[in-house]
Symmetry: C2
Subunit: 255 residues, 2 copies
């Protein structure tokens, strides 16, 4: 038997659920969590009683509403989304393209909100989906505004390739990041798929640090990139203000 701790075993039951496995039988859970059927049964019962899991009529388990209620308190999850949603809606109204909000988690971006209008085309993103920072617009915006040590560490590791356009050369990535910092906007063209382009801008918290990024993803072929940039920047600034960020005062005219 393993020497796994009690919390570890319980969390392994939750971790058994993912996008490809949103519904699991007790046997599935036991196998995916690496637990005996007896242990899995005991833990699943405790989680179900609490409401973290729900069992449907066919005996299959799903993630439960109670867990969702607790998770809604995550400041980088629903709480951020709640503040951002009106601005994302406005951005969608202005562009009628796919709109995303993402945060950084280690070397990846996690999408915490997106609006994919029924009229919008292009890439479909799942909530909780992850991508490496260097390939996506939101990732470039987040990486460009992280500290130097963190950028150095990221550039020192192998950069995964998704298309022939993905930046995989560290020196090129550094130049792109410098340009993102200078312009305040990140454009990722055909780096994730051959047909998509994203325009992203950083979202700042009350202390001025970058806490998230907002983007629009469009088909690369017809992309009106210059027209998208002001809209994306405006949405990012709106969310930043709602989070308590105060822009630096403008220089006086002619100053």
């Amino acid at each position: 038997m393993t020497a796994r701790s009690a919390p570890d075993r319980l969390l392994s039951v939750l971790a058994a659920f993912d996008h490809d496995h949103p519904a699991l039988s007790l046997t599935d859970i036991s196998r995916r969590a690496g637990l005996s059927l007896t242990t899995a049964h005991r833990l699943v019962s405790a989680l179900s009683q609490w409401g973290a899991l729900e069992r449907d009529e066919s005996g299959v388990y799903h993630v439960g509403l109670r867990l969702w209620e607790v998770a809604a308190l995550a400041p980088r999850g629903l709480a951020l989304r709640q503040i951002a949603l009106p601005y994302l809606e406005d951005l969608y109204e202005a562009t009628h393209e796919n709109v995303q909000l993402a945060v950084r988690d280690g070397s990846e971006v996690v999408y915490i909100e997106w609006i994919s209008g029924r009229s919008a085309v292009g890439v479909r993103i799942q909530v909780g989906a992850r991508w490496p920072l260097h390939a996506t617009g939101v990732g470039l915006a987040l990486l460009a505004h992280s500290d130097v040590a963190s950028q150095d560490a990221y550039c020192a590791q192998p950069l995964a390739r998704f298309t022939s356009h993905t930046i995989t050369d560290p020196a090129t990535l550094r130049r792109v990041l410098a340009e993102v910092r200078r312009s305040g906007v990140a454009v990722s063209s055909r780096q994730v798929t051959e047909d998509a382009l994203s325009v992203a801008a950083p979202v700042r918290g009350a202390d001025g640090s970058v806490v998230a990024a907002v983007s629009v993803v469009v088909p690369q072929r017809d992309a009106q990139t210059p027209a998208l940039i002001p809209a994306v920047r405006l949405a990012a600034r709106g969310i930043s203000r709602a989070l308590g960020w105060q822009p630096e005062p403008d220089k006086p005219p002619g100053g």
Copy 2:
């Protein structure tokens, strides 16, 4: 010491977080979860390592992104919201009033999505907020379409009063529920607060059972209730169809 099980103790750490306590110190967690400081420290460490909790620079704990990612798989939480959002947006665009999506959990409604446009007035609802079924439009819509035994049990318990208009008489509630079933729409006027009115309609799943309810909340004084009803019903039917519901074929004209 208590004889609480290991899962029970770990879940009590998560349950220490709620809307009024979204950020807690280790001491807060230990007190609210009824755990010794040593045990709380051990469990909080395990939860933090996994990503269910995150510690900020000031040493305070928040609910973490990883928990949010798992919770996003809840079919009655984000998963339902994801399907419903475009229809809720359309309803908001059509009315420019507060729009809500709620599910039933026992004798309460839980709000899992709402759009509160910056131009909309009236009641503010928090995600995960709960209300008794008999007071709200969504609650009446959900209760009216639940099975008879469940309705009987609900009507047999004391009905909490929030305003002078709240239905607290079981016989009146039964009449209202019958009317909701007949008309397919629930109107709750001044039952939650003296100034608000909500119009709600049931959302059906693929098997035809009612799985959620959608509503619009407006100031009671200016409420154009007859004009809101078709919009709310349309949104509810749109979400139902997206969930796989097939309406019964219309009777032939003149039939």
